[in-house]
């Protein structure tokens, strides 16, 4: 066989779109109107707010923008947010994997109840999520006297912010993994165990590669919420500038002081993070579909 025939590319595939019969599709005019309504709604509610953040951020010029995001308070806020995320997200990831393992690999009663409890933080207002930690660790709280006597600060300090963030982002990873591991079943793990691998090896070489994309997906959602959490953190932070202000709280303070350009400058940084999150999410969704 001639080599050229082997590497000859296929004729470009032309997509054949057969005209759908009228009974299976809405009238053309109706389709256009519906598409227009959907796009107009998204333009007003999603695109315009996003665009306005960047335009307002640069309204007073690039100098004001860079001054705002390199201000010591802004840098402290960025550092605090990153610290909180670096503690809360891995803890919830380990929990998510453990919970998914416990909920999908074994049969026992009360599974649905446990799943409901894991979902609870989604049904609770962020303000209440903050309030509960004040009730536990605040000056008048359950452990307040003991903490004061031992000079441990939880509320209005880093531990409180981390706890509140863990609470609101707790279900994200578990929620992604449970349905995924349920669908994949136990056969591969059982095969691995019967061939002599121990539990950890089985998880590492069999389960983890299977749930990789679901895990990343959950991590991204968890991360986005952890970075942006406002209500819960606002309750427990105490708003000490340069000390316990996360990025969203810093934005609030700037905004309330009518430093709109500065507020939107920091907001634009967070919007860039949000857009990156969406892009990674899209890639991950596409990857997991193609496998």
């Amino acid at each position: 066989m001639d080599q050229s025939t082997i590497i000859e590319p296929l004729a470009p595939q032309t997509r054949i779109v057969a005209a759908k019969p009228a009974a299976l599709q809405e009238p053309r005019f109706f389709r256009y109107v519906l598409t227009f309504i959907a796009l107009a709604f998204l333009a007003f509610f999603i695109v315009l707010p996003l665009v306005s953040i960047f335009i307002t951020a640069f309204q007073k010029g690039a100098d004001v923008y860079f001054a705002a995001i390199t201000h010591p308070d802004a840098l402290a806020a960025i550092q605090l947010t990153l610290t909180v995320v670096a503690i809360a997200v891995p803890l919830n990831a380990i929990f998510g994997i453990m919970a998914a393992w416990a909920l999908t690999k074994f049969n026992y009663k009360g599974k649905n109840l446990l799943l409901t409890v894991i979902d609870l933080p989604f049904a609770v207002s962020p303000v209440i999520a903050g309030l509960v930690f004040i009730l536990l660790f605040g000056a008048q709280g359950l452990f307040g006297d003991w903490l004061f006597a031992n000079d441990i600060k939880i509320v209005f300090a880093l531990p409180g912010i981390v706890l509140a963030t863990i609470f609101v982002t707790l279900p994200f990873v578990a929620r992604e993994l449970v349905p995924l591991m349920q669908a994949q079943g136990n056969a591969e793990e059982e095969a691995s165990i019967s061939l002599g691998a121990n539990g950890f090896k089985t998880f590492w070489y069999v389960t983890l590669p299977n749930i990789k994309w679901g895990l990343i997906y959950g991590l991204i959602l968890c991360n986005a919420r952890a970075i942006g959490e406002f209500g819960a953190v606002s309750v427990v932070s105490g708003h000490i500038r340069g000390m316990t202000n996360t990025m969203p709280l810093h934005i609030e303070i700037l905004y309330n002081e009518y430093q709109f350009s500065a507020a939107f400058a920091v907001a634009s940084l967070m919007s860039v993070l949000a857009i990156i999150t969406l892009v990674i999410k899209d890639i991950v969704a596409w990857k997991s579909k193609s496998i």
Partner: protein, 277 residues
């Protein structure tokens, strides 16, 4: 004899049951159950009369009405437009569809405070959109509805979309071949399939909207009796070190959202049962 006991209680093949379940229970107990129990423990320290006086205060009642009404309105707006958006994204072709599809998730990714200040500056009386209206949008309940619509949109779109994708063409073809018009097919074949998903999306958006704080505080104006949502009342009471007051209102909110979610799950369970049989 041994085989009999083996049959009765099959050995677990996969290891890690005590570790994974124990860790999970410990984690949720310490970080979810104990903290939430504090709301009820703290409320118990009040007498019934004190509790009712706090939670039926006119300012609190006004906030329940506002939170409930605006969450309901935003949920309904999202049901209509979210379903249209899901429909258009699944069924029609247009340029940049993939990017637009990705943008629907923006409210999940964008911090609520950022969304709050962006929407406020757009809908303020001198804002890009607000200036075209001769009535106020931001700093009124209308502004709250806009913020809650933004927050809730992806819930409806993302629950309806996969269901719509999975409706097989054969069902529609069968309907059409039996003489149904397109409108009949959509109303009597497709819509009943979508209804449970729409209800789920609505309930998720509604539950989220009831407790939403970050995006609303900026656009609401926060006037007592007029534009003060329930989470803000909790916040205000906390800032005044009125823990009993804050906790009582929080208990009302918690019970309300649990009852709501339970009811919606029940309706859904009943609806699913009817569809299967």
């Amino acid at each position: 004899m041994t085989s009999l006991t083996f049959k009765k209680k099959p050995a677990r093949v996969i290891p890690g049951f005590p570790l994974s379940l124990g860790y999970t229970m410990l984690y949720v107990s310490l970080l979810v159950l104990l903290p939430l129990a504090m709301i009820f423990i703290q409320t118990m320290s009040l007498s019934w009369a004190e509790f009712t006086a706090i939670v039926t205060d006119p300012r609190a009642i006004a906030s329940y009405k506002l939170s409930f009404g605006t969450a309901l309105a935003a949920g309904l707006v999202n049901v209509v437009f979210g379903t249209i958006i899901a429909w258009v994204l699944v069924r029609y072709h247009f340029p940049f569809k993939r990017i637009i599809d990705g943008l629907v998730d923006l409210p999940f990714a964008l911090p609520t405070a950022v969304a709050g200040i962006a929407l406020t500056s757009l809908y303020a009386p001198n804002g890009w959109i607000g200036q075209f209206f001769n009535f106020k949008i931001a700093f009124t309940p209308l502004g709250i509805i806009i913020a809650l619509t933004f927050i809730g949109l992806p819930f409806v779109v993302r629950t309806v979309q996969p269901v719509l994708q999975n409706i097989s063409v054969e069902v529609e073809e069968a309907s059409a071949s039996l003489g149904a018009t397109r409108l009949q097919t959509v109303c009597k074949i497709i819509f009943p399939e979508l209804a449970p998903a729409i209800l789920t999306g609505f309930s998720l958006a509604f539950a989220r909207a009831l407790g939403e704080y970050g995006s609303v505080v900026f656009i609401a104006g926060n006037m007592p009796m007029k534009t003060e949502i329930t989470p803000l009342i909790i916040m205000t009471k906390l800032e005044q070190y009125d823990y009993a007051g804050a906790t009582s209102i929080a208990a009302v909110m918690l019970i309300t959202s649990f009852v709501l979610l339970f009811t919606i799950n029940l309706i859904q369970w009943l609806a699913n049962r009817r569809f299967i049989h």
